[in-house]
Symmetry: C2
Subunit: 396 residues, 2 copies
C-alpha cells in the first residue's frame, strides 16, 4: 500500500426517490409493529411520476390505513405540490401487497422461539473503524452531513428555494489510516426555477458545504462540483424512478466495508438481511470500542429456516491487538447470532425503522422514543455496552 490513498463515498437526501421509497416501506413496517410486533413484513415501494406503488408480503393481525400513511410520508418529506414534481395529496397510491408465503412461514416458525429459522439465506457484513467518534468511515459520515444540512437549510427556510431531492459525494485523502484532507466534493440539489446558478452555487458553498465539512480538511486543490449539470429543477420521482433497497451502500458504510447485498427498509427483523447486518455492526463496533482492533469487518451467513449462522468470519486489516481467531471465539462466546436471539439482544420488535431510512442506518445517535406508551431506544445496534465485557474477556 502507498502512504496515501483516496476513498469516495456518497449519500442522498430524504427527498431522493430511492430514499422516498425506503421511507415509505419503513413507515409501513413501523405502523404495523405498533400493534403487532410479531408481524411478518416485507414492503417494497416504487415511486414514479404521480404514483407510489407498494408491494411485497405482509402477514399481520393489525389494520393500518396504508393509503393515508403513504400520503403522509410523501408530504412530510416535502413533496406537497406539483410545482416541486410530486404531491402526496393527489398522487396515485397502488397497493399490490400480498401475504407471506405459507411455505416460507412454516420453514421459519419453530415451536421453541429461540429455534426460529432465518427468514432467508444470505450474507451480511458489519463494520466499525476508529477513524471517527461514531466509529464509522469518514467519507460516508461527511456525505450524510452534507445532505442532512441541505434538508435543514430547506426546512428551516434558510434557503427557501431548495427542493427535497439532493445527492452528495466526498472523496477523502487518507495518510496512514487517518483522513488528512478532502480532495473532492459533489453536491447536487434540486431547486426552484427562479434561483440563478451563481446564487445557488454561492449559497450552497457557504451555507451547506462549509457548514457541514471541517474547514481544516478543505484545501486549495479541493475540487467542488456544485450542481454540475447546471440545472436541477425537475427532481424526485419525475426525474428518477425510486425503488426500495436501491441505496444499500449509502445505508451502510459508503463502500468502505464489503456488503452482502441485502436491503433493509420494509423488512421486519425475522429477515436476517436486516437484523444480522445490525448485529454485525453491533459486534464490530463493540470490538473496536473495546480496543481489540482499530478496524473490524465481520461476515455472517445464514440458510433459510436454519437458526445458527452457516459461517462467521472476520477481518481486522492487521489492526488487531489479539488474533482474528481469538476475536471470532470471543464473538461466539458473547453474541448469540441466531435470529431470535439477535431480536432480543437488540430489542428490535418495535417501531423505529422510519428514522433509519434516511442518512444511514449506522453511526447514528441512539435516542429514546415512546411508542404506544412504551419507551424504546432507536439505533440500539449503536450501543457499545459490551465493550468492557470484551476487553475483560480478551484480557487487555
Amino acid at each position: 500500500m502507498s502512504d496515501y490513498s483516496v476513498f469516495t463515498s456518497e449519500s442522498v437526501s430524504e427527498g431522493h426517490p430511492d430514499k422516498l421509497a425506503d421511507q415509505i416501506s419503513d413507515a409501513v413496517l413501523d405502523a404495523i409493529l405498533v400493534d403487532d410486533p410479531h408481524a411478518r413484513v416485507a414492503c417494497e415501494t416504487m415511486v414514479k411520476t404521480g404514483v407510489a406503488i407498494i408491494g411485497g408480503e405482509i402477514t399481520t393481525s393489525s389494520w393500518v390505513d396504508l393509503e393515508d400513511l403513504v400520503r403522509e410520508v410523501i408530504k412530510d418529506i416535502g413533496y406537497t405540490s406539483s410545482t416541486v414534481g410530486f404531491d402526496g395529496d393527489t398522487c396515485g397510491i397502488i397497493n399490490i401487497i400480498g401475504k407471506q408465503s405459507v411455505d416460507i412461514a412454516q420453514g421459519v416458525d419453530r415451536k421453541k422461539p429461540e429455534d426460529q429459522g432465518a427468514g432467508d439465506q444470505g450474507l451480511m457484513f458489519g463494520y466499525a473503524s476508529n477513524e471517527t467518534d461514531v466509529l464509522m468511515p469518514a467519507p460516508i459520515t461527511f456525505s450524510h452531513r452534507l445532505v442532512q444540512r441541505q434538508a435543514e437549510a430547506r426546512k428551516s427556510g434558510l434557503l427557501p428555494w431548495l427542493r427535497p431531492d439532493a445527492k452528495s459525494q466526498v472523496t477523502c485523502r487518507y495518510e496512514n489510516g487517518r483522513v488528512t484532507g478532502i480532495d473532492a466534493v459533489v453536491l447536487s440539489t434540486q431547486h426552484d426555477e427562479d434561483v440563478s446558478q451563481a446564487d445557488l452555487k454561492e449559497a450552497v458553498m457557504e451555507l451547506i458545504v462549509k457548514n457541514a465539512l471541517p474547514a481544516e480538511l478543505l484545501h486549495k486543490d479541493t475540487q467542488f462540483h456544485i450542481n454540475p449539470t447546471g440545472k436541477f429543477v425537475i427532481g424526485g420521482p419525475v426525474g428518477d424512478c425510486g425503488l426500495t433497497g436501491r441505496k444499500i451502500i449509502v445505508d451502510t458504510y459508503g463502500g468502505m466495508s464489503r456488503h452482502g447485498g441485502g436491503a433493509f427498509s420494509g423488512k421486519d427483523p425475522s429477515k436476517v438481511d436486516r437484523s444480522a447486518a445490525y448485529a454485525g455492526r453491533y459486534v464490530a463496533k463493540n470490538i473496536v470500542a473495546a480496543g481489540l482492533a482499530e478496524k473490524c469487518e465481520i461476515q455472517v451467513s445464514y440458510a433459510i429456516g436454519v437458526a445458527q449462522p452457516t459461517s462467521i468470519s472476520l477481518n481486522t486489516f492487521d489492526t488487531g491487538k489479539i488474533s482474528d481467531d481469538k476475536i471470532i471465539e470471543l464473538i461466539r462466546q458473547n453474541f448469540d447470532l441466531r435470529p431470535y436471539a439477535i431480536t432480543n439482544m437488540l430489542d428490535l420488535l418495535h417501531p423505529m425503522y422510519r428514522a433509519t431510512a434516511a442518512y444511514g442506518h449506522f453511526g447514528r445517535e441512539p435516542v429514546e422514543m415512546t411508542v404506544g406508551g412504551k419507551t424504546f431506544t432507536s439505533f440500539p445496534w449503536e450501543k457499545t455496552d459490551r465493550a468492557d465485557l470484551l476487553k475483560d474477556a480478551a484480557g487487555i
Copy 2:
C-alpha cells in the same frame, strides 16, 4: 490474519423474482439499442403476484412493443402458467415509463462527444483475483454454477419437477489465499407439489450439487442445506416481490470485493453505475492477467455531468509486483475512463445486456453475437487484451 478463513457468497436463478425484474429491464434496453444505440434508458421493473410493472426514464426514437417483450421474457424464463405461480400470457403489464429529465440530459450531452458528462454521480469498484481461471472469486463462481445447473436440469427435463425460482450459497474455506474446501452449501429450489422432500433432496444432491461443485472440495464436514424450509412450491413473484437492481452483489463479486451501490440492469452505458463498473472489471482483470498483482480492486468515482473521474484508487492487498501508485499511473496512461471513452473502449452500444442479467456480469465467457446483421462480442469487459501492454509498460 489467521492461516485460514471462510467466505460465503450466494447466487439466484433466472427465475428468482429480482432476477426476473433485472432481465425484463435489460430486455427493454436491448430492444431499444437495436435501432437506437444512443437512446437514454433507465428501466426499472417490479414484479408481484400477477403483475409486472415497468417504470423509469427512456428517451428514444425507437418504437418497441414493450408489452409483448415483457411477456416473452417472463415466458422464456419458465413462468408460463398459474400452476407455477406466474403466467407471462395472462399477467398484467403496467407501463409507467417516463422520459429522461431534460435537466439531466442537458448536463450530460456535450458538443464534443468525448466530453460527454457522467449520467450520474457515484462510486464503482472493479475486481479480479487469480484464484480461478476466470479471475473471479471462487465462492460466487460456485454459487452461480449451482443455480445454472438447476436451470439446466429443469429446462432439459432431467428433473421435470423443478420450477424456475432457486437460490444457492457456498461457504469456501481459504488457506493462504487458495480455496481448500467447501464448508457449507445452501440450495433452495422451487418444485412441483408432488415430489417428496426425500426424492428432491437426493436428486438435488446427486444431479445438481455434485455436478456443479468440484468433488475434491467437498469434505466429510461439509454442511448441506437443501431446501431447508422443507417446502418451496410457492415461488416467483407470489412468494417474493421482485425489483430491478436488488441483486447487486450476486451480479458482481459475491461480496468479496467492495461495491459502490449502483445497479446495472436496465441502464444504458451513459450511466457510469454500469459502464464504469464494467471498465473497472476490465482494468482489474487486465492487471491481474498481466501478473502485476494477484488480486486487484479499483475504485473510481464521478460527478454528474463531468467527464473525468473525480477519483481513482487501488488496492492490491499486498500482492502487487509493483507499487499501487505505479499501477494507478499505468491505469491513467492506458485506460481513458471518461464515459464516452469507456463506451468506445468496450464497444457497449449494442444489445447484449439481457445475457448479463442472470448468473453474474463478470467471469463470463465472451461470445460472438449477431444483432441486426452486425457481429458483436458479449461480455467485452472480460477480454484480457491489454495484459501484454501493461506487462511491457510495467517492465516485468
